[in-house]
């Protein structure tokens, strides 16, 4: 088990090496790439959001208890906010790299 902080470090390294292939001689860390990690997290998020939508529809038709609908919709909302925040972080990280003085 790799420690979370060094995992972030290796992901950052990989992200940097992906944008600057010239310095790819830097040790490439093993494990899934940042993009893969993000993609699988996004897939999970999509499932949660779809669950929230299905719950909302069932709530309107009255075939699901109210608190279950609320639970699912809140979970979907939170997941969406998480994904948006993570995307913003990723975008700002790439912008940070593009602003690097060469």
């Amino acid at each position: 088990m790799i420690s979370p902080l060094s995992a972030i470090g290796s992901l950052t390294l990989q992200g940097a090496s992906a944008t600057t292939p010239a310095v790819s001689s830097v040790a490439t860390p093993s494990g899934p790439s940042f993009a893969q990690t993000l993609a699988s997290a996004a897939a999970d998020a999509v499932t949660t959001v779809q669950g929230g939508e299905a719950a909302a529809i069932q709530g309107v038709t009255g075939s699901m208890p109210t608190f279950k609908v609320v639970e699912q919709v809140m979970s979907a909302q939170r997941t969406l906010q998480e994904m948006i925040s993570i995307r913003d972080k990723a975008v700002s990280a790439y912008q940070e790299i593009s602003r690097m003085t060469i």
Partner: protein, 139 residues
């Protein structure tokens, strides 16, 4: 491993479900507090009772609450002398349900309070989760 705050949301959700079932049974009891039998001398509506049980959710390892069973109160029925009633027996007595509306109202108050307590837990957990996610924003 489930997130503890999401776990408390799930647990309080189970509590809400249990208490709303209890409230449903109470409303049945109150609504049927005057329901007599359709056949002469037969038993009227019997008061229903709810009992709760602690159940382990194996997928998440959480201790949830659920309605164990909906039973029937074995207390004797009230007798009322009303010879004109179609449900009256040969002596003119009608069996009325063993529902005491005062007891039901007290029970309803308790169910209400417990529901509110669970709701408060859900509110707090959701609030804390949202605040934690908000840490990611404009940091």
């Amino acid at each position: 491993m489930i997130d503890p705050l999401q776990a408390s949301l799930k647990i309080s959700g189970a509590g809400l479900e249990a208490q709303s079932t209890r409230l449903r049974i109470i409303s049945q009891n109150i609504a049927n507090s005057q329901s007599t039998a359709s056949v002469a001398g037969a038993d009227p509506y019997a008061r229903q009772t709810v009992s709760f049980d602690n159940v382990l959710d194996r997928a998440s390892g959480l201790s949830l609450v659920r309605v164990k069973n909906v039973g029937v109160d074995a207390a004797p029925f009230k007798l009322e002398h009303d010879p004109g009633n179609p449900a009256a027996d040969s002596d003119g007595y009608v069996k009325l349900p063993n529902v005491d509306v005062l007891v039901e109202l007290t029970d309803m108050r308790e169910a209400n309070r417990t529901y509110e307590a669970n709701l408060q837990v859900a509110k707090q957990s959701a609030d804390l989760l949202n605040q934690t996610v908000a840490l990611l924003k404009d940091a």
